[in-house]
């Protein structure tokens, strides 16, 4: 690994200050499960690595407030997947958090880091998108709230401005009963990067939403709501039309190592159906 300097500030203010001084020559280190790999392969070459794990005003936990769930930037996947409110009200996120890598990875990887890495295949992204997650960003101009859909730009690129960092991710608590599920395609049952990753919500008022990833430069929300997919009488032709619309934004890479475009597109449809079925089953089963 190419050498770099190491900073370990204890306040957000100091992180922002360091980012201000070093600009793009500084990279933030949270769980390290993406960053260290990229440092080793040379795809990023910072002068300074800023470890945010001792930043006291960055929460490492999940707090439940009246109308929202707030996941601190230092919260790791293991804790997200185990949290009772996440499991009850944001099951797709819990599902996803528990398939990110192995136990060792999940014990270190943060949700914030996963989003900032901006891989199109990030497993947590589809669930967060359907839940309407908002990213709380802090920087030199203060605090910003960025809906997750506006946070992802393309592979490896977010809408964070110079000197900005993620402080937390907020999820609005459900207004109506709902079920959700996350499903994905991998090359083996053991931990793997997803070839297709997808989440679905089914709400008691008959609305179904889908978001998906790994079929283009960034995770996407389904182009329309998938309510009609809930209709048991939907014919094959109508379903295919709906699915084509739903996944109109999908543009899988023709050069991917992991899966071919036609397989990915076909799996989107299979996963959509399975996620909706699973989400609906959870809705019907009720909370807890």
């Amino acid at each position: 690994m190419r050498p770099f300097a190491y900073e370990r500030p204890t306040a957000i203010r100091d992180v922002v200050g360091l980012l201000g001084v070093h600009g793009p020559a500084a990279r933030l280190l949270a769980g390290g499960t993406d960053l260290i790999i990229r440092l080793r392969d040379g795809s990023i070459r910072p002068d300074v690595v800023v470890d945010v794990k001792r930043v006291l005003d960055l929460s490492d936990a999940i707090s439940v407030e009246t109308d929202r769930l707030v996941i601190g930037a230092r919260t790791v996947m293991t804790d997200i997947g185990a949290h009772p409110v996440v499991r009850r009200d944001f099951a797709a996120l819990a599902d996803a958090a528990m398939v990110v890598g192995s136990a060792q990875i999940r014990n270190r990887a943060t949700l914030a880091g996963n989003l900032c890495n901006a891989s199109p295949a990030a497993d947590t992204a589809p669930g967060l998108l359907v839940f309407g997650a908002v990213v709380i960003v802090v920087g030199p101009t203060g605090e910003r709230r960025i809906p997750l859909d506006d946070f992802f730009v393309r592979s490896g690129v977010t809408s964070l401005g110079p000197g900005e960092m993620v402080a937390a991710i907020e999820l609005p608590l459900p207004a109506v009963p709902r079920g959700s599920a996350h499903v994905r395609r991998t090359r083996r049952r053991g931990h793997d990067l997803a070839s297709v990753t997808l989440a679905a919500i089914v709400e008691a008022d008959g609305v179904a939403r889908i978001a998906y990833g790994s079929v283009g430069p960034r995770p996407l929300r389904g182009a329309v709501t998938a309510d009609a997919l809930l209709d048991a009488n939907l014919g094959d032709e109508a379903r295919d039309r709906l699915l084509n619309q739903l996944f109109a934004g999908a543009s899988p890479s023709p050069t991917s190592l992991r899966a071919s475009p036609d397989y990915r597109l076909a799996m989107l449809r299979v996963l959509a159906r399975r996620a909706i079925d699973a989400a609906r089953a959870r809705l019907e089963a009720g909370p807890g």
């Binding site: 190491y6 390290g32 260290i36 470890d51 890598g101 192995s102 270190r108 931990h191």
Partner: protein, 188 residues
């Protein structure tokens, strides 16, 4: 030239001080600076788990942590599982089921299993499979490793070895000085 970082870390219950280059990983520091070569280097991308250690009782890939990040933390490596000469029940179980073949993945397996059992004292087989999924083994079909973890978790197992007795019972110590003619006399 970047500044070195002083790291104060508790390793296997002992406070250790090392001075490291910031870009060195915890794996580097454990093996090269502290001489704890039980933790192994293989994939270096957090896939194989050969480098697994415990931090605060949770399993992590030490190849994905900078040594500097470990400052102030408590780490357990494979060398810290046994208490003096007394093996951890997991270590004994691995011996009993024959789980170790070439042995290279075993430190990581043991450490991951220790974390798993701390979190889930009576895991199902499926939970063991998932808990150890981050530890690749190429020798075993994993079966004897999984059995060892289940065995260590089961309070009914009395820890007696599954293999043949090491020595036929009831026999006197073979080298009894009294039995040797003229033992104790200086050689001529």
């Amino acid at each position: 030239m970047t500044d070195l970082v002083s790291v104060s870390v508790e390793v296997n219950g002992r406070l250790r001080e090392v001075t490291v280059a910031p870009h060195h990983t915890l794996l580097d520091a454990l093996r090269d600076d502290l001489g704890l070569t039980g933790t192994k280097e293989c994939c270096l991308v957090g896939e194989c788990g050969a480098c697994t250690v415990l931090i605060g009782g949770r399993s992590v890939d030490s190849c994905l942590m900078l040594a500097a990040e470990a400052d102030g933390l408590a780490i357990t490596t494979v060398e810290g599982l046994a208490t003096g000469a007394r093996l951890d029940p997991l270590q004994q179980a691995f011996l009993d089921t024959g789980a170790a073949q070439c042995g290279f993945c075993i430190p990581g397996q043991l450490v991951s299993a220790r974390a798993l059992l701390a979190e889930t004292p009576r895991p199902t087989r499926e939970q063991v499979e998932e808990g150890l999924a981050g530890n690749l083994c190429r020798c075993a079909g994993y079966e004897q490793i999984i059995e060892a973890v289940l065995r260590a978790a089961d309070p009914a197992t009395d820890g007696s070895p599954a293999g043949a007795p090491a020595r036929p019972s009831g026999e006197p110590h073979p080298f009894d000085v009294a039995n040797v003619p003229d033992a104790g006399l200086a050689p001529q």
